[in-house]
Amino acid sequence: MADMTLIEAIRCALDEALAQDGRVFITGEDIGRRGGVFRATQGLYEKYGARRVMDSPLTEMGIVGVGIGAALADLRPVCEIQFADFIHPAFNQIVGEAARMYYRSAGGWRVPLVIRVPYGAVPGGGLYHCQSVEALFAHIPGLKIVVPSTPRDARRLLHGAILDPNPVLFLETKYGYRQIRGEVPERDAPLLPGPARIARSGVDLSLFAWGLMAHYAEVAAERAAREDGLDVEVVDLRTLHPLDRDSVLTSVSKTGKALVVHEDNRTMGFGAEIAALLVDEAFECLDGPVKRLAAPDVPAAPFNRGMFDFFLPGPDDILAAIRDLAAY
């Protein structure tokens, strides 16, 4: 067992993947000598050289497009988009190309590509270093969306994403990179995209979250237990697409109440899909409205700290939402 931060676990997985499989290479902006702007690839350039750990020209569509080509040629590219906010120029390569390749060739060509994307609000990040993009991509068939919230999951899910023959968007909460710590076993099997994690078992209410919000949800649920005697089940979805529908439905069939928390803005956020699923397939189980706690419908977290705190849901906000729904 080792105690790691989220980013250390990601770096560890990248190092292991490069060591294990000669087809794996990393590319992105400043990921070589600089070790990435967040240091996710620190030390890897020195260890594996420029052939395996390759700084890219400044072109997100190029990073993804070249990654697609290399994946078609049966390499295992792990591409880094420096901030989720910068992924939009690559939208067409991801949505129109990588995600559709398998279907459009009737299974002829596959794209085993991992795109690592630091996402979400971080103090001082402003409108273009804070965006959450999961809902934009979760709509797209053919693309897997993974969002780990613990160091152990980050490491094993990154290995699983690299093994997956499909394109995987691997979203990393950058605010959680050094804030989230946890135990990581010495040896751990890869975890393929798919299953949710019951972070905390409970009977009074189901709380669905991912990434940083899953981390905060656990904090809030512990406080609800301590301060209110409420037994909240926290379901860390980990993979948004394909969604582990069974885990969502099983949890709500037990608790009868559902709260979804995300730092993406509310309208057409992924919480809407959870709510729709529950209304559609667990209507009889519900003892209250499906509630969403989300960021307001503004472009992203503002730069000013007070406005930032207003924007981003925190453990206090989650606790308040738990209390409201529990009282329904």
């Binding site: 000669g22 290479f25 052939r51 890219s56 020209p57 072109t59 569509m61 190029g62 993804v64 497009g65 070249v66 990654g67 697609i68 080509g69 290399a70 994946a71 078609l72 040629a73 049966d74 390499l75 590219p77 120029p89 067409n92 390569q93 129109g96 190309e97 559709r100 390749m101 398998y102 279907y103 459009r104 060739s105 009737a106 299974g107 002829g108 060509w109 596959r110 068939p141 053919g142 897997k144 093994l163 997956d164 023959p165 499909n166 393929l192 394909p242």
Partner: protein
Amino acid sequence: MPGEAVTRPSQVLSDDTLLEMYRLMLLSRRLDERAWALHRQGRVQFHVSAMGHEATQVGAAFAINRGVDYVVPYYRDLAMAIALGCSALDFMLGLFARRDDPWSAGRQMPCHFSDRDRHIISGSSTVATQVPQAAGLAFAVRYRQRAGLVDPQDETQPRLALTSLGEGSTNQGEWHEGMNWAGVQCLPLVCLVENNRYAISVPQTEQMAIPSVATRAAGYGAQGESVDGNDVLAVYDAMHAAVQRAYRGEGPSLVEAHTYRLTPHTSDDDDRSYRSREEVAAAGEVEPLLRYRSVLLERGLLTPKMVDDLEAQARARVDEAQRAAEAAPEPAPQEADSPVLAPLPEGLA
């Protein structure tokens, strides 16, 4: 040309090869014409034509290691696909959107080629998206060579990526970003620009401030050359130089082949609003199939009888492919549900 020094690579092509190039151009042309007729009869939904581009495409295909080197074509490349080994039946199955359409099993519009065995990458209809991907394939070629996984001289392995697109598509960011990547990393990429003077309806003069797309190559450290795209041997020669340069590790090239689209953009287009009939008729006078036939007749490689025989053979192949495709089963409608995700490898699921 006895006694003359060999100055053009096409001069050493065998008679069989020269005739094969003709046969393939002819087959593509007749398939194309049949597709238009079938569309006018209401028997197929859509066609996108390669007519007029056959010399460019066949000349280019013959310059690479066909079936081995990666090819990332665009939807106008019927003659290229045929030259790479795709069959008349393959085309017809796609045209009729049949279950056994090998390129997309009825999911894509016709002429969206895809053939894993022949290293032809599936394309979309969104222009220039294939260029960074082609750079990625070229990157993979070089990656494997540098890792010592393959011998750079091994002709059974891909040694370059060829991509193609129209001149209008070189205005897309993806073209520029892909070319820049290939240039800065000195990748074995050959970009064939099939310049037919129009991006659907908009002439080149309204698309870019330069008369020749080839000059764009300089901005990316690539070799740029323009060539008469209606002269199959001239295209072969220009492409041969670009391909050998890629094989030698000297980086990307751009070959601009000047040609003309003899038909509207697609079966849904009407070109009368943007091209005069005189202009189209004039292009027909210098179109590549007749022109190459004249060359072969002049050289004595073809006789009038052979021309007729080859014509009959091509038509028979088109007839047979059409019959087989029309008789082939439709996909079950519910097959539309898959395959969205590739299955996990054995032992992982």
